[in-house]
Symmetry: C2
Subunit: 588 residues, 2 copies
């Protein structure tokens, strides 16, 4: 039996021409490494998620044509939207045969469709019922490079393992298993995926794959998208699982091909993409897992998180043709780590940091900001804002004297945003906002101030994780003989917005260890106030945290994209009747 190449692909949503070119190159690499067939990711030809592009019939037709006509040196199954028969029907999320044997099988385009997605996830980040019609015929590719393969698309495999939030009426894995029981000789089942990343998602996905292989009683192969598109991150980690639970897993955050020998786990190999600008972050080690090993000892959570955040920003910039970044450097932990992320994603020569002290900023803040900028080798400028601050305060003297004190604090953050955006607009750079998930969830930030920016690299990273990422960046620098970018002072001083004299975050918020625990249990775990108090948290603290959270939850709607690194229990994050974005500001 010959080998299967799983094309772990990093598409750009909407860029059909480039996507097909790059897929074709990956397919060529697969053949060179001994594969006789290739399997792409879900909707590889147009990238996932294509969203409203799918509402243009012309786009769907061009995707299908690009998939059918792709030049490849071996037979490939390609994910593509498939046009509907008429204007009153939605397209489907399908898989077609392409490459050398495709037209020899049939010249009928419809005959080259081997599968159409049956289970359409419509929860959390997924909206597929909006764009696709569901089919109820399971997929099979016969006479495909010598194989007969069961063919499924992403969610199709998840119902069997009970790993979806609500049940579907059908189970594609069970359909294929039934065919094998009826005597159809299926060598393996493949799954074309665009399965997004969050911390610990890999463990779940592996469990789903093992369940499928066990039910099918033949190997289950999953080709997963890799890289970032807007706020979605895909970790790759394409895999093969045998019915006994043995598994081989591709690296994360790298484009390439997992060459699978269906009969020999030890003969599986990884081939990194040859493309010059291919995503390639972290190590290229294959994970070989014995039955029962969930891989957790292979996956360093902070390393994975750090690479995820860097991938998100790097891919966002590459795919949007953004060549340089500007950000405020306060001397605090968030902006220091955001600078590390930007420097690793784009190179320090493409990053500019602005230190913008006000009269409330301490000298150590300026020193710490300068330390980070110099250690990373990025551009940096010092712009004290005291003159502008006084000028605005004078203009607003009457209203500030009689109003809520938060108004005066916000002025500083907004003046800094003007300077950061001035640099961004003048130089064609993107501003990034440096806030973390904990403070954003509490509204401890200023709308049109430190929230301003085209991308929020730490927007889905809790504060204590930001500290862990800082240690990781320091370790990476040390191991290369470089200066650690995050100073001891930045790591150890009490977090402060420095918008009022002697202000610290903990004047307003609980200590971040405790805050993060409560937020994580509520946002990711779905636990309400009663649950949290029963877990031993102080009732007043819980109510304060949840009240601030609800008041500010809508803010996510006006936040720039952040890569998804935490699971979200509450989908789009809409929980209150109405947006109250007029009062998004540092809480008082």
């Amino acid at each position: 039996m010959s080998k299967v190449g799983l094309l772990q692909f990093d598409p750009t949503v909407g860029d059909l021409e480039q996507n097909v070119l790059r897929l074709s190159t990956l397919a060529t690499q697969a053949k060179e490494a001994g594969a006789t067939v290739g399997i792409s990711t879900e909707l590889a030809v147009c990238g996932y998620p294509p969203r409203d592009l799918l509402m243009e019939r012309d786009f769907v037709e061009r995707s299908m044509a690009a998939a059918l006509n792709m030049s490849a040196p071996l037979p490939v199954l390609i994910g593509t939207p498939i046009p509907a028969e008429d204007d009153r029907t939605l397209p489907t999320n399908g898989v077609v045969r392409s490459g050398p044997d495709a037209t020899s099988i049939t010249n009928d385009e419809h005959g080259r469709i081997v599968a159409e997605k049956q289970l359409l996830p419509t929860y959390d980040v997924f909206d597929e019922a909006r764009y696709f019609a569901a089919k109820n015929r399971s997929g099979l590719a016969r006479s495909f490079g010598g194989f007969t393969l069961g063919v499924t698309v992403c969610e199709d495999a998840w119902q069997s393992a009970g790993m979806t939030p609500s049940s579907y009426a059908q189970d594609p894995i069970e359909h294929i298993a039934e065919w094998t029981r009826q005597g159809v000789d299926i060598h393996a089942t493949v799954n074309l995926s665009a399965s997004p990343f969050h911390t610990e998602k890999f463990t779940t996905r592996l469990a789903v794959a093992r369940h499928a292989a066990a039910v099918l009683n033949h190997p289950f192969l999953l080709a997963n998208q890799v890289g970032g598109n807007d706020d979605l991150l895909f970790d790759g980690r394409s895999l093969v699982v045998w019915p006994d639970g043995r598994a081989v897993v591709a690296p994360s955050w790298q484009e390439g091909v997992l060459i699978v020998d269906l009969n020999d786990a030890s003969a599986c190999t990884w081939v990194g993409s040859h493309a010059d600008d291919a995503l390639c972050i972290g190590s290229a080690t294959l994970m070989v897992l014995e039955p029962g090993d969930d891989g957790s000892s292979f996956v360093d959570t902070i390393e994975e998180l750090t690479n995820a955040v860097v991938t998100g920003l790097a891919d966002y910039c590459r795919k949007s043709s953004i060549g340089s970044i500007v950000l405020g450097l306060s001397g605090g932990i968030d902006s220091a780590v955001a600078a590390c992320v930007a420097a690793e994603a784009l190179g320090p020569e493409n990053v500019t940091g602005l230190a913008m002290p006000s009269r409330h900023s301490s000298q150590h803040s300026i020193d710490d900001a300068l330390h980070t900028a110099q250690a990373l080798g990025m551009h940096h400028h010092l712009h004290p804002i005291d003159g502008m601050h006084t000028s605005v305060e004078t203009t607003l003297a009457n209203v500030l004297a009689n109003g809520h004190p938060v108004a005066g604090e916000n002025l500083q953050a907004r003046l800094r945003a003007i300077l950061v955006m001035g640099y961004a607009n003048a130089n064609g750079s993107m501003a990034v906002t440096t806030g973390n998930k904990s403070e954003i969830a509490q509204g401890y930030c200023t709308l049109y101030g430190d929230m301003a920016g085209g991308y929020a690299p730490l927007g889905d990273v809790y504060k204590m994780e930001v500290y862990a990422m800082a240690e990781r960046f320091n370790q990476r620098a040390s191991s290369q003989g470089k200066t650690e970018p995050v100073s001891v002072s930045t790591m150890t001083k009490p977090p402060s917005a420095e918008l009022a004299p002697d202000q610290t975050d903990q004047d307003t918020l609980p200590p971040y260890e405790r805050l993060d625990t409560i937020l994580r249990a509520h946002i990711e775990g779905g636990q309400n106030a009663d649950d949290l108090v029963a877990l031993g948290h102080d009732a007043n603290t819980v109510m304060d945290v949840l009240t601030r959270l609800e008041r500010n939850e809508h803010k996510r709607w006006q936040m720039p994209p952040a890569p998804r690194v935490s699971p979200r229990a509450f989908g789009q994050g809409w929980r209150r009747p109405l947006a109250s974005n007029h009062d998004w500001r540092r809480v008082s």
Copy 2:
């Protein structure tokens, strides 16, 4: 035969207690006006759209209990989410019996469910497949205050008329028609709706209702939600249609009860809500339509649009407990009309306008701004920004000297945002942004500048419609013997951002008459560049407009809610691969 009361209700999403109280009051008014049964709107108990609140099982259960236990002096059909049997199933969008006879029919809660929505719209502003399970049993309420009623929920009635973007597999209207053909004696079919407004939506909704009544061969009654929730507006206009096409239609933008005599169109009456804070905008005239009359001679499009925009802001503020508004007054048409809207929605004593001239502002701008503020009787302050502007320019001198000129222009808009937000934060007011749909679609606005604000009253209103609204506000003032708020100068001078010497909008954009035509055909009509050129538009102009539109389309994601007043062909407005929000700025 007795009378049916259609409860045209303005709920607050999530506020179960208040919603039930207000529904109960409407039901009492219905009984006092001679109705023997009441029909609520879709999901009346929790308001539409409840979105992620539906993901909390506790919320769904409390909604259902509130609906079943509502105190009412007559039998009422109430729209409510209905809890799922288990945690692997989604709730349904249903209708239950409440009021005096409900428990005499059955004490079984499940037995009081009379309908569950069959067709779940998942396009444009609708996301129902995300939240609900679809059912396939049509609704019937027997022994209901002496009636037997077919019961449908909103979209259920639209398939029959072919008025949905894609087809559903079933047709609830046809089901009920089949029952009548089988001999079931159904007096009327009711439809509990939350059917959002856009211009000319009424004509479509009336056609759907007429189609249903003709197919059913009995009266079709539709109770529609009224008012605003976030960016959705509901116009009310509850109606009854007879099989021959005669119709009686309730007023728009008012909460109340349409009392329907099933045998006599001329005996139908309208009863306005008695609640102190009830929505009541525009005239309370019933529309009585003969067969074939589509009502267009009754509906003044600009009057309807103006009332829609006022309703959106008024309801947003009331439901969010926002008592006052602050906005920039440039002397231009947009901010003048936005001020008129705010003054009508909240009362001029709750509106503050800031004139913030820069060195590029003309004296007539300051005069025109003052005229509007004084004519409306709102608060107003003059804050020249020249000092701050010079201070920021000095700080950024190097980067501005070598960078893109748009960076310098944006400074002024962002300094104004700091002042507006300073007032808003100090006084607990909401800032509103005054941009219109035409300029927003072209990116002719500054991110974190004039785009700053918690609500965009004109965000879905094309520029030429803004002029028409200005005339309408002037007419309203004249007819009350007041000074016209929008000066002749504001109406007639060339539109200008006044961010550079002698700048006008038409230096960058086509004349607004032409721009609006192109935008409307593309955004609302779905026509692409080829279509537009074939219609006679200049090819270069079309490409410029569409290129600016695509580059800036993602901006909608960071815009505050605007009431929906135009149909949207492209749903959520996502058309390009990636957000490029880093360059949302006045185009150059």
